[in-house]
């Protein structure tokens, strides 16, 4: 008899499958979020036809040191690269990645885009990580699905050619049936992003009134972007401003070259400048003149496929002018490659958020989260006066937030400020539900424990249904800009109903039985 009794008390309480389910889901969530503590910077993309690519650098590699200097984050990277480049002479650059070493012999910064290594698989949205978001529609025209698809593919192409790595371009519609193109760029954003996404990109090269060639692959078969055939070739002070000029070579299709020959054949030489022809080659971008190129007289009537495109940039300092020229060159190259769109665009919404501000926000949100946890714990302890009960509520609360974050990471949802607010509000309903379970468990001592829990679940299920129907309209209103808010709330309360609440009521049963 005695032996048997001892056996009973030694026995570990049999845990219900509901608690096991919670444990498994938590474990899976940890795997999904998978935090890392690695230092370095990750290569997001490598430019085509570049020294970096030739030497074997690839995207997703992790750079850990340059010329022996350790690289911990993107700030280290820019500091070191800016201290070496631009340089007049070619120098060798030793880049150590996680697994190997690369040596670049070059006089300019490696043509790669880097970013900090993400600490977890969680994706933070615009207002937390910085970046840009634009909502674009056609001017005075509603786009059909095919047109919108074209627009999206040209725009994605442009952003990629321009060298922006972390970008998504997709279609969104709103409740009134309007279609938009939504562009989201994570992290640092070029200052003139508006130009890149709103320009129709109609490039025309004209001699007099006749169009010789236009942007896009039909007329332009190749655009040089690196090496000797492309770059800034001169900078000078002009009228109190700094001006830098760029040029790059393009290759015309035979058809375009023939047309050019036919047109130049009818030109005479310029009487004031006899080395050149009487008319210039005028380059127009979206109907405004970018540059006029004088045509050398020996090109008269000749089919040339090689043409040099020129332009300039300016600024108050030489560096500004240089950067402006580089930017203008990249934009022009991008447009020449991707061609134009058949309609004018209008940016109806554009937000660019500083990554610096985003860091501050993230830090504050974490502090806020901790304070809320502490305060709620204190409140619960004052009410229930039992450490175990309070711990169970807090554990459930934490599990809910954690699982919601993991689901967001799994579906690659960008967590922005409203989405975080949704998670916290979801936790709020979570606490409420648990208070109801606790209260109902003590409420009617005549009814069985099972019945009491059932009563609690009636209230909880009703509250669940109500929060879902209340948030549902946000999925469609306002082109889905507040979808994140509704989504995280709904995920949060669903996780509560399906996983954490049943486990919590089992844990409470165990505590009460004690």
């Amino acid at each position: 008899m005695v032996l048997r009794e001892e056996k009973n008390t030694m026995k570990f309480p049999r845990l219900s499958w509901k608690i096991w389910l919670l444990a498994i889901v938590l474990l899976a969530s940890a795997l999904i979020i998978s935090p890392t503590f690695e230092t370095g910077v990750i290569i997001k993309s490598v430019e085509k036809n570049s020294t970096a690519l030739d030497q074997g650098l690839k995207s997703n590699m992790i750079i850990q040191s340059i010329n022996g200097n350790p690289i911990k984050n993107s700030e280290d990277y820019s500091r070191i690269i800016n201290s070496i480049f631009p340089s007049k002479n070619k120098t060798s650059l030793k880049i150590n990645t996680k697994d190997s070493e690369f040596v670049l012999f070059t006089n300019k910064a490696p043509e790669i885009i880097i970013a900090d290594i993400p600490k977890t698989k969680l994706k933070t949205g615009l207002d937390l990580s910085g970046g840009a978001r634009a909502l674009v529609k056609a001017e005075n025209k509603s786009l059909n699905a095919a047109e919108l698809n074209d627009l999206i593919s040209v725009t994605s192409n442009r952003l990629n050619e321009f060298g922006i790595a972390d970008v998504t371009v997709k279609q969104v519609s709103d409740l009134s049936g309007n279609n938009f193109m939504l562009i989201e760029i994570a992290g640092a954003t070029p200052t003139d992003i508006e130009d890149l996404v709103s320009k129709q990109g109609k490039f025309e090269a004209k001699i007099g009134n006749e169009t010789v060639f236009i942007g896009g692959e039909k007329d332009i078969t190749y655009v040089a972007r690196t090496g000797e055939q492309s770059g800034i070739y001169a900078c000078e002070a002009y009228n109190g401003e700094e001006v830098c000029s760029f040029r790059f070579a393009i290759t015309l299709s035979e058809q375009a070259a023939r047309l050019q020959a036919a047109i130049t054949n009818n030109l005479t030489t310029d009487p004031t400048n006899p080395d050149y022809l009487s008319k210039k080659l005028d380059l127009y971008l979206d109907d405004s003149l970018v540059d006029s190129l004088s045509i050398s007289k020996d090109l008269k009537g000749r089919e040339t496929t090689q043409i040099s495109i020129q332009g300039s940039g300016k600024g108050t300092t030489r560096k500004e002018a240089y950067d402006d020229a580089t930017n203008n060159m990249k934009k022009l190259q991008t447009i020449l490659i991707t061609g134009s769109l058949p309609f004018k665009l209008e940016i109806v919404k554009i937000d660019t958020i500083s990554p610096v501000l985003g860091k501050e926000f993230t830090k504050n949100l974490i502090i806020l989260g901790l304070i809320v946890f502490v305060l709620v714990s204190v409140m619960l302890f004052i009410k229930f006066r039992r450490i175990k009960v309070t711990a169970a509520v807090i554990l459930t609360l934490f599990s809910e937030a954690f699982i919601t974050l993991a689901i967001a990471a799994l579906i690659k949802w960008n967590l922005d400020a409203p989405a975080i607010a949704g998670i916290i509000a979801g936790m709020g309903t979570g606490v409420n539900d648990q208070i109801i379970i606790l209260d109902e468990a003590e409420f009617d001592k005549h009814a069985s424990l099972k019945e009491r829990v059932k009563n609690a679940f009636f209230i909880i299920l009703s509250a669940f249904a109500l929060i879902i129907v209340a948030m549902l309209p946000l999925f469609w209103a306002g082109a889905g800009m507040l979808k994140g808010f509704a989504l995280t709330t709904i995920i949060g309360v669903s996780v509560g109903i399906l996983v954490t609440r049943p486990a919590f009521s089992e844990i409470i049963k165990l505590i009460i039985k004690e």
Binding site: I350, S354, L365, T429, I436, F458, L466, F485, T489
Partner: protein, 296 residues
């Protein structure tokens, strides 16, 4: 203890109808104020640039904001300036400039006044075109209406009795109207996220009502008064816990995204209103209903 409780119950029997007058008066004042506000502004709320069209530019760093404001005011008369202060140090962290002008118009003037270029390192820019913001606003109001209707239908499906369901819906209506009137009174400009917070408020404030109604008309045992009183104790604790979770966003931690703060501010106001609307409005109606139906 028993004595006090039974005294309080008697007290409740005598005065619950008078208690009901408090929320009714508050609701009438709120509705009247909203009516006056609509007459004056042609709308139920003041809208920020995300709903009325325009730009919001956030500047970081050490800036003489008064000087900047006076320099810009002549060119942009509708410019408004707010600063976000770090409560722990008392220093402003960033400044938010809002105007109906576009960033292309605003930025060069700001740069001229500050003497340096605005980049994505030192500033954030948000712009919403007037046509889009207008349609945003209409859609969000429509969403709010749909949300309210769906909530009402769900309540009827859950309780299947007319008056108790109506009491819940009426309480939620108060939870929306009272905070909105207060926000208008304080002159706060609502953002898109702010309106979304009202949708959440519908789902958020209703659980104490469900607790009350379920305990009063579905559960047996004890007396009606003790069931209501018990629900009140639990429900008000739930609301207070939620408030404790929400209020640090204003009083302890600053430097949070604006949209985030506005969502929390509206939820906080809504929860305060919910204390009144659940435990004075809804409870009184339920009590009266149960007495009529002889539910003990």
């Amino acid at each position: 203890m028993d004595n006090i409780e039974s005294n309080s119950k008697d007290w409740y029997d005598r005065y619950y109808k008078i208690l009901f007058l408090i929320p009714i008066i508050l609701l009438i004042i709120s509705l009247a104020y909203l009516g006056y506000f609509f007459n004056k502004h042609g709308d139920f709320m003041l809208k920020d640039v995300s709903l009325s069209g325009g730009s919001s530019i956030t500047l970081q760093g050490d800036i003489d904001i008064n000087k900047l404001e006076s320099q810009l005011k002549s060119k942009f008369p509708d410019l408004s300036v707010r600063s976000l202060t770090d409560i722990t140090t008392g220093k402003p962290v960033s400044f938010i400039l809002e105007s109906s002008s576009t960033p292309e118009q605003l930025k060069p003037e700001i740069e001229k006044a500050l003497g340096y270029k605005l980049t994505d390192k030192n500033s954030s820019t948000e712009f919403t075109g007037p046509s889009l913001s207008n349609s945003f606003y209409k859609q969000l109001l429509f969403a709010l209406l749909i949300s309210f209707i769906l909530m009402s239908i769900t309540i009827f499906v859950i309780f299947r009795t007319f008056l108790p369901s109506l009491a819940v819906i009426f309480a939620v209506f108060g939870d929306i109207v009272m905070p909105l009137a207060l926000i208008d009174f304080l002159g706060i400009r609502l953002s898109a996220a702010g309106i979304a917070a009202f949708l959440m408020l519908i789902g958020y404030s209703v659980d104490t009502d469900i607790l009350l109604t379920t305990r009063a008309i579905r559960t047996k045992g004890n007396t009606l008064n003790s069931r209501i009183f018990r629900a009140f104790k639990t429900g008000s604790f739930m609301t207070l816990t939620a408030l404790v979770a929400i209020l640090p966003a204003f009083f302890i931690v600053s430097g949070l995204p604006d949209s985030f703060r506005q969502i929390f501010f509206i939820l906080a106001l809504g929860l305060f209103a919910d204390l009144i609307n659940t435990w004075l409005t809804n409870a009184s109606i339920i009590k009266w209903y149960c007495e009529r139906k002889k539910i003990q």
